[in-house]
Each structure stands twice: as structure tokens, then as C-alpha cells.
Symmetry: C2
């Protein structure tokens, strides 16, 4: 059985040594002193490692079952969910007036990483509830907030998002689910939604579905889509649950992974719903939830990579196989541990440098969100809007690859289900697909976000990298970090330039390279994060830290990322600059 | 349910237009006229597509069950196996004197691709039998050949290979299974072997296990390992099966994929066995089987990529989602098919260019084997020995990635089991692990094969690329193909040079880059194959082929590979040239 140790020490390092949250001028950040954040992280670590992680394999093996309309979650999930509720974890970063603790979003994201790493299928019940609550918070009327938020924030009720129909996922303009207005101001929702995570289960008193549907007579396509609140049980005036609404789970899907989460076909049969936000502006409201969900999914990629890496590392230290080529290292034993072999090291360093770099990346992204929301900083809002598809697409693609690398270290023992390494890859696989498949993230990045506000945000990012390099050019020890970062950043700019020049003439020239650009940008972001970590650790060492080994390890890992991961940008640039012709060279019927 | 169409047309193209097998001076090749090979490929295609493919999902869902020592294969497997037997497919390239048809190995490999693509779990029962028969053919006494080969070549009996024990996979010197010599010249084998594919099942009258074990008193480690023939039922003097031997399946593994193949723990309890080959030279004999198995596993990567690609292509043409950015292409429909989108094209072209390039690569490799074995050509033998780890490692890594890409095209529909795309990735995953995990292939390539015979074979390969470029430099249309190939080949040589210079001083400097080198070399090999295909198709077009569209498609795909896949070599070279320091920078306890 795999173990999970929550990376509280590394999180504290990123928060305090690198991002220096305690010094930031963002409302609520003044509280984020190391003692305070550590206390929270340690509590979160306990529930993740002690309560959720032991149920991860159980969830995979048992899965969810549907009988007479009732979905049963795997053994132990209900009790664990009670503990999550009791801890008030969903409300960590929610407003106090609805029962939350009003901590910054960055703390909520640290929690999300731990819960996802410990048990992704389980964490989704809680995570989607948080997302649905955030959408109601942003777009609901005060009455709606009063009605739904306290019970959602306590996880007494859970939430879902209902977008996909069998014939449309990405292209939601094709949807058929209808919402017919009623005299009392409510709507009657009818249609079938598929792939609804946490759609039905036995862990909450009520389930609040956020459902996209079309009001008849509205505009065609995506412009005629509205968002509705459709509770499983109607809520009575006193706030208690009343009669059952016309929504039911029709079936649950057999999937490659995340078996512990119920992925439901949801049937709406004149279910009563209430408009959330404005008519026909459903996508805008849904994107509040979706953007949060995309970052949460990016973290899932990172989280699965981390837990897989942790176990691969243990195995590489314990499993004896072969001898080091440079001379026996374990003369007492029948063989040396796997970790002596350079190719095993390569695989471990790939994982370690990704996980720690990715963690810094998302926590930095979370501070941008706090800055945008709490300090009303439009530039921060633009920058995180640019980064969201990168966080989602890059971290889930790479995170998946890392789970595959971790599994590989186990050899045949990684392929059998006994050791749990297969589950990490099977669970991580979904993160590349849901909340917008990664190709759609790349399209969002290159087709929309790059040019947003006249390209202001991507220019700001380039400037940020440039300033960092300039400001640190004289710092001893930074040169081997900064030189590759500079090169990679230049290549990223060249790719952007290519899109601007060629994309004008032929949009396919830009879109043929969108996926490569997303990965390039991810590498440059992680490169910047590693440069910032290198600087923070050099400072710590210069200031006589009590834990020099931790910081030396950071520096060695930073050098690894620069030397071995960042060169990917050169390949991506070459691919991008080959333009549309190779990609679009065949007619569809020539395939 | 996914479909599989055997690529007989593409195989005939590679055999006759590209490799020109009909003109080769290799014993048996004179028969390989297009009419003849096409007739065989078409028959093989029927059994693959009509008999095996429909059982692929069945095998995945049902898996194998063990009850009272008896393993039951999934419904339909037994009947299908009878049909494979009746067709005499296992004997296609086996000697006539033992019931085979004595065709060249290249034809056997074409068959292997089809069977693996249609149903990998099923094909393994037949494939391992072929491999075990090949080992007996190469190392057995005449009496052993007479006893075992006819029934194995007919698949009346099947074969297995028993290497792994729970504490040792790669490092077989640690093995504990014992073989105690008896007065009658046989041995008594005792021990436990794990991960034994096709170890026990209900489709054959007998199972012939080839088992590695140590004869007490022999040399320590790998030098004391011998290979034994251990039949499930002892064979009587009249050739019929007699009493049960002391070997039994203890349990079967729950795995990520290939559920239709029984992966067994095999318990040997004083089982009677007979030495195959010489005492303590077991690894040499096993490698006859292993080398064949490695190529067969490389083909599995290719085969799963092909079948996944075929289904992704169909889906991309049928699924309507979004509109082409350059203008509506399907005005009658509610949306355009996925295939209009550049990023979907990228994913399809990645797959297509890999599958067709990989197919040419393995079929070329098969002609080297025929040349080595049938024409006793030591240079061909050396070259295929160099290529074997590349075929295995590169084709299975990339093949797996391609199944992931294919699955991605289905979006959420790729993650649920209903459409079968998940199975392709889960089945393909094992190919990166068994028959030597891919890290071991890279080690074999860089640590042994590069320097073999004084580096003669890798030099011959470089020379082959160079000559091809030189010979085709003036051919119109070849320039955009040759320029990137030249660059990639130069980079590969630079990597080899780096290993020679730095590896002398520090073997870790070479081994830290071994995985990158394996991938670089794979890309250059596929690049060379695409260059050869481009030339063949240019010739066909110049000669007024009746199927110009086929050849134009080949040329466009060749250009894609060169423009979009080959630039990976630049990245790999940069990683390699960073040497051992980044990889080995941390002490084990610093992780």
C-alpha cells in the first residue's frame, strides 16, 4: 500500500522563503506568519495522510455502485467525509458570514494539493462543492447565498457542475437541455447531462447541481446558455430540505480511474431550478467555477505526481537490484539499491524537479488570485487568467508523465495493482481531459489569452522574467540558473512573435503550435520558479540557515531543471516555427 | 466498440516499394513476390480483425480466473485459439521439419503486429509459444526438438518464459530457484517465479515452461544460471502427455491491463526439468528467446498505437464539435468534425507518422534478422543487435504516448471504458516494462551495444544514413527530408562522441544520458525510414503509379515527421551534454 506524506515543509518554504506571503500587501496576508500557516498545514496534513490516503486504494477497488437510484460510495468514505466536514475544511477560504474562515485562497490551494494527493476521487466531492459555492458567491442573489452557501460551505450539502451532454463537451453551444420559465420566477429543467462528477452519492443531505441549459427562444449557440441552481431536494423556507426535485442519476460510468468518485449520467425531468446570474450569460457564471476548477485540476496533476514520486523514491531506496557502475555501494547486501543507477536518478530528478517547481508555480498563481480578488488588482487578474490554461494543461500533462515514470521505477511491480502505482496513473489521466481537454487549454492560451488586453499580460510576464534575470545577474551562484532561463524565455518570445506574424496571415499557423506553446510556457514558468527558489536558498545559506542541506538540495534540483528539463523549449520552438503546413498538409480524406 | 483494420496495404508498401524484399539476395526471399505476400497478409488480417479483435474488450472485462489450480481464459478465447492453431500461424516462419512453413521472419513479424493490435493479451499466448520454440530450436538437442517442437509449432502446446522472482527482475543473478541434478540426467526444479505471462490456462494440452534456475554448487550470480525445459505434463516416449509435473499456478495477478492474459505466480516443487543448452549458460539460451521477445514487445507498442490511432481517426472524422477557425467546413451540420482543428491534426499526425515510420523500422529490422540467420551475415547480426533495444524501448515508449494521444481525442469518452480507448493505453503500458524495462534497454544500448565489436555497428549505421543522404541529395523533392535528417544524425553522432569522451572518465556521464540517447536513436531511425519511404513514393509518382494519393500522403507524412518529430533530437542532445552532474548531484539521502 502506498503512503503519502504531505509536503508541509516544502509548502512553508514556498510560502515564506520564496513568495514571502507574510510581507505581501494583500488583505488577509498579514496573518500568514510561519507559525500560523504551519499549524494549518499540519492539521490538513493529518486528515490527508491519516484519513484520506488509507481510503485511496479502497475507493479504486470498490468503486461506486448504483442501486435503485441510490449511489453508494466506497466503504469508509462516509466517515471520512464527516471528518472533513467537522474540520470545516471547505470553508477555509470562504467568507465568515456564510460559515467560512476567510483565509486567503493560497491556503485553500495548499489544502487542495494535499487532499488530491491523498485521495483524488474523494477530494472531488469536496472540491466541486467549493467550486459551486464560489460560483454562487460570485453570481448569486443574497437570498441564494443565504439559502445555499452555509450548508455547502459546511459540506452538509455538496455541489456539482453540469455542462457536458453526450453529443457536446467542448462545444457547449450544441446543448439541448432546456429551461422553461415558470410564473413563480423559477424554471423547469429537462435534459440529460453526462460525466457529472459527484453527481449522486450517499455522503450529503442534499446536492446542489449547477446546470447549464437553454431558455427556449433565446439566442442560438453558446450565447443562449444560462446557468441554473437545481437542488436534489428542494429547500424549504426554513432552510431544511424538502421534497425531491425532478433530477436523478440514470447510471454511473465505468472509468479508467477515479473509481471512488461517482461519475453520473444525470437526468433532469422538469426539475425545478433557479437562474444563477443573468439569462443567457451562463457561460460567464460557469467560468467562475471553471477557472477555479481548472486550477484545482492542474493541482491534481501535480498532486498525483507527488504521491507517486514519494512512493517511487521509497522503492528506489529499498529495492536492491544490480550494482552501481562506479563501484559497489551496499557491500553488505546482495545488490545496491535502485537509486544508485543513473537512469533511475534521472527519473527521480525529473519527478522531484517537476513536483517542487509545479508547487511553487500554483502557489504563486494562488497569490495572484488573492491579489486580484482581495486587492482588486486588475493586472494580477489578467496574469492569472493567462496562467490558468498553463497551470491546467502543463501540470496535468507533465504530472501524468511523472506518474508513469514513478510507476516505471517499480518495474513489473508497478503494473500490478497491488502496490497502487497503477492507480496514480489511472487517476491522473482524467486531469488531462476534464475541465477542458488540454488541447482546449492550449487553444484558450494561444487563441485568446495571449492577445487579451492587447497582449499586456504576456508582455508583463516576459518583463517579470527579464527583471528577475537582471536583478540577480550579479548574485553569486545564479549564473548557471539564469543563463538557461534567459535562453528559454527568449525562445518563448520568439514563438509568440511567430504567432503574431504568421497567425495574422493564417490562424492555423498559430493554432498548429498552440500545444507546444503551452508546454514551452509551462517550462519557462517552472524555470522562473526554480530561479526564485535558487535565489531564496542562496539567501538562506548566506544567512546561516539552520537547515543547509534542505537549501543545497533545492539548488541542485534547480540546476537539474535548468540543465535537463528546460531544453525542451528549443524543440517546441522548432516545431512551432515549422508552421501550419506540416500539420495541415493532408486533406481529411487523405488520412 | 473499437474496430481494427489490418494495415496490409501499408505493409505491402514497406515490403515491396521500400525494402524491396523481392529483390533481396536472402534465402527464401525470392518467394516474396507481392501476390504471395499479399495473400498471406490478407489471411492474417482476417483472423486478426474478425476473430481476435472482437474478443479484445471481452478479455479486458472478464479477465482470467483461477479456481482449484485451473485458470480459465475469457469467453471465446478457446475457440479463437483453435482457429489460430488451425491456421498454422505459429509455424509461419518455423522449419518445415517440425511442422512449420519456413517463411522468412519478416512475414512472421508482420503477422505479430496484426495479432498484437487486434488483441495483445490473446496474442501473447501464441507469441510466447513462438519464442519458447525458437529457444528450443536454437539450443535444444535433436531429441528435445523432436519431443517439443511439433506440438509447440502447432500451438497444441504453448510455451512460457520464467525469469522473474519476487525479489529480482532485472538482476537475475539474485535468483533462488534451484535445479538439483538427478541420476537420470534430468533435474528437480524448486522455487517460485512471478509475472509469468500465459503461465497457466485452458487453451492447450500442455504448457512447456522454460525456467531459469541455479544448479547448486555452480558459480555465484548470473554466471550460475541455467535454463530448463519444464513441461506442465511430462511427455511420454510416444510423444503424448503423461503425468502432471510438479508445477502449478499459485495465483494470478490483478493488473492495469492485458487482463485476458493470465499473469501467474508459478510454484515449482521438485518439478522434473531438462537442461536446455549448457549448464550455467542459461542466460545465453534465454537471450535467444528474449531478443525475439524484445522485438515482439516493440511491435506491441507500435500495434497498440496503430489500433488506437485508427479509432481516434474515425472519431475525429465523425464527432462534430466547434467550427474550423478558417471558416465553416460542414455547413449542413451543427458543427464541424474534430479533424478540422489544428491541434487535433497535430495529434493525428503524431500518431500516423509514428505508426507508419515504426512499422517500416521493425520490418527493416526483421530483414536484418533474416539476413543474419538465413544468409549468415555477421554485420546484419551486429546491426540488429544494436537496434533491438531501440525497437523495444523507443517503440513502446512512443507507442504508449500515442495511445494516450488517441485517447485524448475522445475527450471524456476516452476515459470511460465503453469506447475501448482506455484499454489500449492500459494494455500498451506493460510493453514499456516487460522483457527488460526501458531503462534497461537504454543501458543495454549505451552500456553494451554502442561499443560492441569496437563500435563497428553504430558506425555502420551512421554510414548508412550518410550514404543515403549523399545518394539522394540530387533527387528532386528530397531536400526538405534530407536536411533535418542530416542534422538529427549529426546530433546523434555528437551524443555518441560525448559518451566516448566523457564516459571514459566517468561512466555515469554516459549512463545519465542513456535514455535520451535511446530516444534520439529511435528518432533518427524513424527519420531514415521516412526518408526511404519518401524516396520510394517519389519514385512511384515519377513512374506513374495508379495510386498517386497514397504516395502523396506518404510524402506529406514524411515532411511532418521531419518538421515536427525529429527536432526532439536537439533537446535530447542538450540533456545528454549536461552530463552526470545534474543527474547525480544529490546524495541518496538528500532526496
Amino acid at each position: 500500500m502506498p503512503d503519502y506524506t504531505a509536503p508541509t515543509k516544502d509548502m512553508a518554504y514556498v510560502l515564506h522563503d520564496v513568495l514571502k506571503v507574510q510581507d505581501r500587501d494583500i488583505p488577509g496576508y498579514a496573518d500568514l506568519e510561519p507559525d500560523f500557516t504551519t499549524a494549518i498545514l499540519d492539521e490538513a496534513a493529518k486528515i490527508a495522510s491519516d484519513v484520506l490516503a488509507p481510503l485511496n486504494a479502497v475507493g479504486d477497488q470498490e468503486g461506486c455502485t448504483l442501486e435503485n437510484g441510490v449511489v453508494r460510495t466506497p466503504k469508509g468514505f462516509r466517515d471520512a467525509f464527516e471528518q472533513v466536514k467537522e474540520g470545516g475544511w471547505t470553508g477555509l477560504d470562504m467568507p465568515e458570514e456564510y460559515g467560512g474562515q476567510n483565509l486567503p485562497y493560497v491556503m485553500g490551494l495548499a489544502l487542495t494539493e494535499m487532499l488530491s494527493a491523498a485521495n483524488q476521487a474523494f477530494a472531488m466531492y469536496q472540491g466541486l462543492t467549493h467550486g459551486a459555492a464560489a460560483a454562487i458567491l460570485a453570481h448569486g442573489t443574497e437570498a441564494q447565498k443565504q439559502t445555499y452557501l452555509p450548508d455547502m460551505i459546511s459540506c452538509n450539502w455538496t455541489g456539482t457542475m453540469n455542462l457536458t451532454e453526450s453529443h457536446c463537451g467542448t462545444d457547449l453551444g450544441l446543448m439541448r437541455t432546456k429551461a422553461v420559465p415558470q410564473d413563480d420566477g423559477s424554471y423547469r429543467i429537462s435534459g440529460e447531462k453526462i460525466f457529472i462528477s459527484s453527481g449522486e452519492h450517499d455522503m450529503a443531505e442534499n446536492i446542489i447541481h449547477l446546470v447549464l441549459a437553454k431558455i427556449p427562444g433565446g439566442p442560438d449557440g453558446i450565447k443562449g446558455v444560462s446557468l441554473f441552481i437545481v437542488p436534489k431536494f428542494l429547500v424549504k423556507d426554513d432552510g431544511n430540505v424538502g421534497e425531491r426535485n425532478g433530477v436523478a442519476c440514470g447510471s454511473i460510468e465505468e472509468k479508467m480511474g477515479i473509481h471512488g468518485n461517482s461519475t453520473c449520467v444525470m437526468n433532469y425531468d422538469e426539475a425545478q431550478g433557479w437562474l444563477l446570474g443573468e439569462e443567457h450569460k451562463g457561460m460567464r457564471a460557469m467560468f467562475t467555477m471553471m477557472n477555479e476548477a481548472r486550477i484545482g485540476v492542474g493541482i491534481q496533476g501535480l498532486a498525483q505526481a507527488d504521491v507517486a514520486y514519494q512512493n517511487a523514491l521509497t522503492y528506489a531506496k529499498e529495492r536492491l537490484q544490480g550494482r552501481a557502475v562506479t563501484g559497489t555501494e551496499n557491500p553488505e547486501g546482495p545488490a545496491d539499491p535502485l537509486i544508485v543507477h543513473p537512469d533511475i536518478r534521472r527519473a527521480l530528478m525529473d519527478q522531484k524537479s517537476f513536483v517542487e517547481g509545479g508547487r511553487a508555480f500554483v502557489l504563486w498563481g494562488a497569490t495572484l488570485i488573492d491579489q486580484a480578488h482581495r486587492a482588486k488588482d486588475a493586472d494580477a487578474d489578467g496574469l492569472i487568467s493567462l496562467m490558468t490554461p498553463v497551470i491546467k494543461g502543463f501540470l496535468t500533462d507533465q504530472g501524468y508523465d511523472m506518474t508513469v515514470l514513478a510507476q516505471q521505477i517499480y518495474g513489473g511491480h508497478g503494473y500490478i495493482e497491488e502496490h497502487g502505482m497503477s492507480q496514480f496513473t489511472r487517476d491522473a489521466r482524467i486531469a488531462m481531459i476534464y475541465e477542458g481537454a488540454n488541447g482546449v487549454q492550449a487553444l484558450d492560451l494561444v487563441g485568446r489569452k495571449l492577445a487579451q488586453d492587447g497582449g499586456k499580460h504576456v508582455m508583463a510576464f516576459f518583463e517579470m522574467v527579464k527583471s528577475f534575470i537582471k536583478d540577480n545577474a550579479e548574485v553569486e551562484g545564479m549564473e548557471p540558473i539564469l543563463t538557461p532561463l534567459k535562453q528559454a524565455s527568449k525562445e518563448l518570445q520568439s514563438a509568440g512573435m511567430f504567432f503574431m506574424q504568421e497567425g495574422m496571415k493564417n490562424p492555423n499557423a498559430a493554432l498548429s503550435g498552440s500545444y507546444d506553446f503551452m508546454h514551452m510556457m509551462g517550462h519557462v514558468c517552472l524555470g522562473l520558479m526554480w530561479a526564485r527558489m535558487a535565489r531564496a536558498s542562496l539567501d538562506a545559506l548566506a544567512n546561516g540557515t539552520s537547515d543547509p542541506d534542505f537549501h543545497k538540495t533545492k539548488l541542485a534540483t534547480a540546476r537539474y531543471y535548468m540543465a535537463r528539463r528546460l531544453p525542451a523549449t528549443t524543440m517546441h520552438l522548432a516545431r512551432i516555427q515549422s508552421g501550419a503546413d506540416p500539420v495541415m498538409g493532408l486533406a481529411a480524406d487523405q488520412f
